[in-house]
């Protein structure tokens, strides 16, 4: 799966949204009221499951949740 598709998938699942509501430009942080610190835990867990990796707390900051595209870039960096 491409990084952008995976980013859309984990956001759609964890925020209970439809895939067609999301594009690379869609803002996450500050845009969806249901996005909170618990959702971050959920999203990171989903990425870990999908990529079979472990993401350290140190790697997580709010900048990777600015937009779906930013999250895709983070996922891309973990795919290498």
């Amino acid at each position: 799966m491409q990084a952008l598709d995976l980013a859309k998938k984990v956001i759609a699942v964890n925020l209970q949204l439809e895939l067609d509501q999301l594009s690379a430009d869609t803002e996450i942080l500050g845009n969806f009221p249901q996005f909170n610190s618990l959702t971050i835990v959920g999203v990171i867990g989903s990425i870990e499951d999908e990529l079979d990796c472990v993401i350290d707390d140190e790697e997580i900051n709010t900048e990777i949740f600015a937009t779906v595209g930013d999250l895709a870039a983070f996922i891309q960096s973990r795919m290498r």
Binding site: N31, P33, N36
Partner: protein, 308 residues
Amino acid sequence: MRVQRVRLLHELVYAMAQESPDAPALLHKQESLTFAQLASEVQRFSKSLCGLGLGANERVAIYLPKQFEVVIGVFGAAAAGGVAVPINPMLKAQQVSHILRDCNVRVLITSPSRAKQLLEILPNCHDLKFLVLTGAADELPQVTGLTALSWQVAMQAPGQKPPGRIDSDMAAILYTSGSTGLPKGVVLSHLNMVAAADSSSEFLRLSASDRLLAVLPLSFDYGLSQLTTAYYVGASVVLMDYLLPKEVVAAVVRYAVTGISAVPPIWNQLSVLDWPDEAGKSLRYIHHLGRAARRSTLDRLRSKLPLP
């Protein structure tokens, strides 16, 4: 110490714009506003609201994450003779609907994307006439009886002079969290808010050189008080939506924050972090509020925080 006697909520900003126009008032990410700039935006927005036909005591709700428009919206609503209703940006459509209906909100300030997420509930908000959007208004589907316009268009409108206010007039309605049922609106007068700012700035011994990190939601009483308390003495405020505790520590260093007010769950999280010595260069006090602090949290904070 205040030179002028402030009696109205928006005068907190106007008075500082007179006293120290070039002092920083508000910071968010890479941007900042001086008191003169903030006062000018507040004044312009208040005239725009009156130009839209906002009547005295009518409600203006703000449903946004922390950004300049929330602060301009709150003070601008009060300056327009209206009543500011800051809505917690974490509330979902049905909860927002309750507030918009319960206190007869006339104007709602939000983002185009958030407005879209509210499309189902907007037609049932009987008193709502205007949406002021932080982005373009043309992508939003038409809702009967509702006019949507962008912040920019609203700000460029010729506007009208706001009506006069006295300190017993309504300034804001803040909603409780609703843990025991539907959220209830608490009505605050201009005097209530200015008196709280006076008291709070006194017990925190704030001065114009202080810089507060506003981590509490502005929809919460002490959250809004972070702004009024700072502006009572001409201190500056850094806006931050609390999400990851480590970003609080980073913000203290980045913005040279001197004080933080927060509730027990936040301090519990902050107390287990490593606080670098750098944070101690600026940090002067921490303020624990809401309910009693956990002993273990206080002990940890005392040993870890680089306070003077």
